[in-house]
């Protein structure tokens, strides 16, 4: 098997649930050697979340955990105990990168803050990922995926332009843990910047990542729109309202839903062709993109009238033949049977104890020389204790003592 793109990087992970483990997963899947630290009392909370085979909870059978921790080795360690802190320092001394998601200041209180660790390993890149970051008035506040998605304005814009009655339709979260996964990607990218800086300078650094910033980074256009629409201007209200914001892009049709986005003049003309050039589309109200934005409500009802008389796959096929950006809204049965994804071998069988191989998402992008690879399944709790602690020079007797003391 060829070496991965990140095959020379050693990472220590002190994190649980989704955001931190997703960050190190995407690096491990590109070849990085990750040692995941779990507490000896049950380990990562994601082990309790499932989905489980036949809905039977079991700490080694959570598909969320198994997915988020592919290609990692796992050890148990109680970093809060003095002996645990010493072992942690030893691990970090030999690592390139530490990813941690503890509350701000919690590691420093144990003598394991960036300044302490830098003294042990000046080349260390330490990434601290928390909901609000290491500084600021809310730094000690708690937040889960739901909170970060909503605090970062993404929730306010979801469902996008589909809110008909704001009084009964609250801001909505996305499926899964999108803010957490996004924070994982964002942290991995930030870490790679620090890795490149280390190539030049030989020195490590501390990356302070806030999940809310990763989320706010997704609504970049809102900043300029807010600032140049003066407080008393007509358009700012638009950004503070969830309805009448323009055209949605998820539309009902006769037998399902389609996604259509025809913003440009070119695509508006193509849409006319798809609808067989009805007279209303040539009206004065719809001449420019701005006109169409201003009269979105009129378009909405007229276009919907046509769509609900046509079938989804026909709209998709005929629209794409005209180069109109249109796609079907697919359910999971349809996604799994999409020939295109099978041809690209996107879903990859991954072993789930108690269920056998289960098709789960594979490479998020394809690298021609250093492909994404599944080298080992997620670790069982403490699976690699002997191997990792042995590598630090600990003998069997010492390990047994540490286990007795609840350190590992």
């Amino acid at each position: 098997m060829p070496e991965g793109a990140l095959g020379d990087l050693k990472i220590v992970e002190l994190a649980e649930m989704v955001a931190g483990p997703f960050c190190t997963k995407v690096m491990a899947d590109l070849g990085a050697e990750v040692v995941k630290i779990e507490n000896p009392r049950g380990g990562d909370l994601a082990r309790q979340r499932g989905p489980f085979p036949h809905d039977q909870p079991h700490p080694e059978r959570s598909t969320l955990f198994l997915y988020l921790n592919t290609n990692k080795r796992g050890i148990t360690l109680d970093v809060r105990k003095p002996e645990g802190a010493r072992l942690f320092r030893d691990l970090v001394e030999n690592a390139d990168i530490l990813v941690e998601t503890w509350k701000p200041g919690a590691l420093a209180a144990l003598g394991l803050g960036y300044d302490n660790l830098k003294a042990v390993n000046p080349r260390l890149i330490m990434a601290s990922l928390t909901p609000f970051g290491q500084t600021g008035p809310y730094k000690d506040y708690q937040a889960y995926d739901l909170n970060c998605y909503q605090f970062g304005v993404l929730g306010y814009e979801t469902p996008f332009n589909q809110v008909t009655d704001p009084a009964t339709q609250p801001p909505l979260k996305a499926a899964g843990e999108q803010a957490d996964c996004l924070a994982g990607w964002t942290t991995a990218t930030a870490i790679m910047c620090a890795v490149h800086w280390r190539h030049l300078t030989g020195a490590g650094q501390h990356v302070d990542m806030a999940e809310i910033e990763a989320a706010a980074n997704m609504i970049r256009p809102n900043y300029p729109f807010y600032y140049y629409e003066r407080p008393d201007g007509p358009n700012r209200a638009r950004l503070s309202k969830r309805q009448e914001w323009g055209l949605p892009w998820v539309w009902p049709c006769r037998d399902g839903y389609v996604a259509i986005l025809a913003i440009t003049d070119k695509h508006w003309e193509t849409l006319k062709d798809l609808l067989d050039r009805p007279e209303w589309m040539d009206g004065e109200l719809f001449k420019t993109p701005l006109d169409r934005f201003m009269h979105a409500d009129v378009i909405r009802s007229l276009l919907e009238t046509w769509l609900v008389e046509h079938d989804r796959d026909e709209i998709y096929k005929n629209g794409q033949a005209l180069h109109l950006p249109v796609f079907p809204v697919q359910n999971l049965t349809e996604v799994m049977s999409t020939r295109h994804f099978r041809e690209r071998e996107f879903f990859v069988p991954q072993e789930v104890p108690g269920a056998g191989p289960v098709l789960l998402p594979g490479p998020p992008f394809k690298m021609s020389l250093t492909p994404w690879s599944l080298r080992r399944p997620a670790p069982r709790l403490g699976q690699h204790n002997a191997e990792v602690y042995g590598g630090l020079g600990l003998g069997a007797v010492e390990m047994a003592q540490l286990q007795e003391q609840g350190v590992i």
């Binding site: 809310y138 469902p159 300029p224 998820v250 690209r344």
Partner: protein, 406 residues
Amino acid sequence: MTRLPLEGIRVADFGWILAVPHATAWLGVMGAEVIKIESRQRLDLIRILGQLPGRPIDLDGSAYFNSLNFGKKSITLNLGHPQGAALAKEIVRHSDIVTENFTVGNMQKWGLSYNDLCQIKSDLIMLSGTPLGQFGSESHCVGWGPHTQAYAGMCHLTGYPGGAPSGLGGTWPDFMIGVVMAYAVLSALHYRRRTGKGQYIDLAMAEVVMSMLPEGFADYNMNGRDRGRRGNRDDLMVPHNVYRCAGNDQWAAIAVNSEEEWRALCETLGHVEWLADPRFSDQPSRKANEETLDTLIETWTAQRSPVEVMHTLQAAGVAATPVLNTEGLCTDPQFLHRNYTVAIDHPVTGPIPAAGIPGIYSALPKADLHYTPAPRLGQHNEDVLGGLLGLSAAEIARLKEERVVC
């Protein structure tokens, strides 16, 4: 002077609209020399959107474009003209990275595919980002980022219970995928620093979206269950919802995971009796009576502002946050304290704050990052064609006349 992580790295950036421009803004801010190759023939749509209100359209005056293209240079090349494509190739010869997000086949048509380009630059890293990737029976389809969440199952799984499939905010997944693209390129560059070898990256936006939905696909493929749309609810956490607050369209998000947090919530709301109430005494009971519990919580939140809900519950250790709208975001003390935005003084639009690159880097002070104003269209034609490729002023003038540079 702080050294930046990507100093000495040159990017020939054929990207447009949102995803690739976001990726290359990140690379530019981190010190790469990003040459944005655009033209009047195929204008980056974002140069037209987001114009200052009440002014005639100015291709250099979109604060939206400017907030996404800082840290770059701009040249204008007509790639449909053989000489334009040849000049683009010359730029690639002097570059380390190529990024593009045209419809599949366009780069090939212009003689700018990876196979063409790695002939002239053997260790080139090239990223192509498209809705469905470079191969496969639907790869010819045209679309924007948001379409890919529909195709990938994301919309099917997002929405109010019993309601329609829903699109995500923030033109998801465009900006998210920009981050992933930057990550992919930085990883390939790391490999090249070690081995001297470049490579090609084929990114399908729909696949990135699916890689972030493990639970939906696991449940379906393992248990045969399509979990459908669940609003703001969680599989386990309860309460876990968005609650109405005092005022018009004001909301707060509250999520409770542990028994400790549940106790703190009950105490703070003044309802310790809930702890002993059989409807709520343990997590499965609360899950079974979630509607009732949500209604009770909302009678408390409805009398308070979202910010008050946050401070009151967070003081007790409960994860509660306001649902911010844009105004809330731009005035929020936490974002302001962390100095998340950058106000780059642009010659046309002035210093309008824009979202920065997330994170605070101890060795890379924000003031030293390469947050230069977004380029005017073709601003660096002379700089790049003359300085990098060595063309004379007369030659550049001729290229302009012949509409190769335009």
